[in-house]
């Protein structure tokens, strides 16, 4: 005989998350924002201006004055894009991936697809962040070796190459392959969007549980008819207009191209903020939830998105950030001269390669060492990899603080120069403009170090907090001892960051001398 459930056990909880997700304010509840984001062409509103900017940059990069401070290509890319991307990541989220004009190559992609027998499968060996990490180091090396920051022409080629790569890869492979497995810029954004104060989440997980087709992931087609009309994409689930909560139009609504399933998302890794999920969800059940910065650093979310390779990428980016800034101060050039003398070489490629290898090795050794020591103090007899995976997020926090400070330094130093730069661009095409080249700095010079030091210090504190929370989470009361190796590592990284930011800059074209 079956026992009747007691009254206390007949009521099921009304909310049961599939996984833990942030439970903060839903930004889409702001007046008009949900309706706008669910509009099919919302993303175009941001993509088209960036596409126009890219076109200006390409034209001026190829045809304009080959002087970096006076060219749209170098100014908009190395100054404004980099500065605004970290501001957006810190205050909002992955706004630049959301507005990425590279995705506007989809029209051309579809033309090319007609000539191909089928879409190809992205190689499994490249389905990890290892390939992207390699591309990142190639990119950073090329940046230094070829002086991309000083060359409008090369910068323009970089932009053209990016569009070409996005076009080729999205034509040959499934949509989203370029974003997830190739794009260095996007993966930089994914990594440091871990610091962002927003994340896509599900409003009601029970709705997701009962959802049959998961259109947020797979997409849907919707028409004002009970059955799909002729010509509707047969690969997508058909959901009639009448079944859509707060209908947002008819047609094709693609799902997440980087294979993120909304109710299981616990990080911003691989999220391009395209909001396909918001538009595709027929129940209007997707939120953009406010969360504390670093929320995901405490929850090991990258375990589901590639684990070791992803954490490796995050740690590498943090230390390459230091390298990128050190390359602009005097000690870098002194070290280069000393190394060249010691090795009896004047090969810039070799010296740069040595510096990159040394910085990478030092970074991983320091992170691994502090992580392993912490685990040992906690009595964990796990290996170095486990320790690295546990504590690696602390370095990501440090990395974002330094990248943010560095990029913001350059942005604040010369943001207003975009006005005379565009003035010169249009004047060179006949417009009666006289550029005011005195427009450059956004803030007084004496404010720069305090601002950048404050940003670095804030994220250093956040990294320390993350280390403390991880220690207490995984080791209980013993965490009070376990945290110290990582805290010392954080302090050293923070001190090094402040020292670099405080050094007088010395912008040279090459590692040994002028770039002329």
């Amino acid at each position: 005989m079956r026992r009747a459930l007691s009254p206390a056990r007949t009521e099921l909880p009304t909310y049961r998350p599939i996984v833990e997700q942030p439970r903060g304010f839903d930004l889409l509840r702001l007046p008009g924002l949900r309706r706008f984001v669910r509009w099919k062409y919302a993303r175009l509103v941001f993509q088209i201006p960036l596409l126009l900017l890219a076109i200006f940059a390409i034209v001026d990069g190829f045809t304009g004055r080959q002087l970096a401070p006076r060219n749209v290509a170098t100014t908009s890319v190395w100054l404004h894009y980099r500065g605004l991307v970290v501001i957006a990541l810190a205050l909002v989220g992955n706004a630049f991936c959301a507005a990425c004009p590279l995705m506007l190559t989809r029209g051309a992609t579809r033309r090319i697809e007609r000539w191909l027998p089928r879409k190809f499968a992205w190689p499994s060996a490249l389905k990890s962040k290892v390939f992207v990490t390699v591309l990142l180091v190639v990119y950073f090396f090329a940046y230094e070796y070829f002086g991309l920051w000083a060359s409008p022409w090369l910068t323009a080629w970089l932009i053209v190459g990016y569009f070409g790569a996005a076009l080729a890869i999205d034509a040959l492979f499934s949509a989203g392959t370029f974003c997830r497995y190739v794009c260095p810029l996007g993966n930089f954004n994914f990594t440091f969007a871990s610091a962002s104060p927003t994340q896509v989440t599900a409003v009601d997980h029970d709705v997701c549980r009962s959802c049959e087709h998961k259109p947020c992931l797979h997409g849907r087609t919707t028409y004002d008819s009970p059955t799909p009309p002729a010509g509707a994409d047969p690969g997508l689930a058909f959901i009639p207009l009448a079944a859509v909560t707060r209908p947002n139009g008819q047609g094709r609504f693609p799902g997440c191209e980087t294979d993120l399933f909304v109710p299981t998302m616990q990080s911003n890794m691989d999220c391009t903020s395209c909001f396909n999920c918001v538009r595709a969800c027929p129940y209007d059940n997707v939120a953009v939830t406010v969360r504390s910065p670093g929320w995901e650093w405490l929850r090991d979310p990258w375990a589901k998105r590639g684990r070791l390779a992803v954490v490796v990428m995050g740690v590498a980016l943090a230390w390459w950030g230091l390298l990128n800034a050190v390359a602009m101060i005097g000690p870098w050039f002194q070290a280069a001269e000393w190394t060249a003398l010691a090795l009896g070489t004047r090969s810039e490629a070799l010296i740069l390669g040595i510096f990159f290898a040394a910085t990478t090795a030092l970074g991983f050794a320091a992170t691994l060492g502090a992580a392993w020591l912490g685990d040992r103090l906690g009595g964990a007899r796990t290996g170095a990899v486990t320790a690295f995976l546990r504590w690696g997020y602390v370095t990501v926090a440090l990395g974002f603080g330094f990248w943010g400070a560095h990029y913001l330094f350059h942005f604040l130093t010369g943001a207003l120069s975009i006005v005379p730069v565009f003035g010169q661009f249009f004047a060179s095409w006949g417009a009666p403009l006289d550029p005011n080249w005195r427009l450059a700095q956004f803030v007084p010079t004496r404010w720069l170090f305090p601002i950048t030091a404050a940003i670095t210090s804030a994220y250093t504190l956040l990294a320390a907090y993350t280390a403390v929370r991880i220690a207490l989470r995984d080791f209980g009361r013993r965490g009070a001892i376990v945290m110290w190796p990582m805290l010392i590592y954080v302090l050293v990284f923070g001190a090094l960051s402040l020292w670099i930011l405080g050094q007088p800059m010395e912008m040279r074209g090459t590692i040994f001398g002028p770039g002329f």
């Binding site: 800059m505 040279r508 002028p514």
Partner: protein, 149 residues
Amino acid sequence: MDLRFLLVAVATGMLLFGCGPERADESGPTGTMAGDTPSVQAEAPDADARASRARVELQGEPEIGPAAVLVYVLDEGEGVSGAEIEVRGDMTHAGMTPVIAPTVEVEPGLYQTEGFRFTMAGDWILTAEIVMPDGTTSATQAVVTVPAD
């Protein structure tokens, strides 16, 4: 439709490959401490007929701080008096604050900056924007590497 797309792509590619960076003799820096570059004529109705030359160079050794930049302006071998010249110092990285200074005429054809200073070590491109007495404009450049203290 596809053929037109292909033709546009090929034409665009040819255009891009055909556009190279400015050659050094147009307006680029010459790689020497004091450059002696031909002037770049922005507006010169009869520039071919005139043998006008301009040169910008640094007085003394380059170092962080105040500096005197000299601009020589000659027209058919004679110093040009009454030109309005502004010297701008740029670094090779976009966004670094430029240094802009006016000049005063020291003697016919020789102008010296007032208030110019190198604000940091590194590679600098000095550009002299010249407005001749007859209204024609030109520019000349020199490159300087300022050592760290």
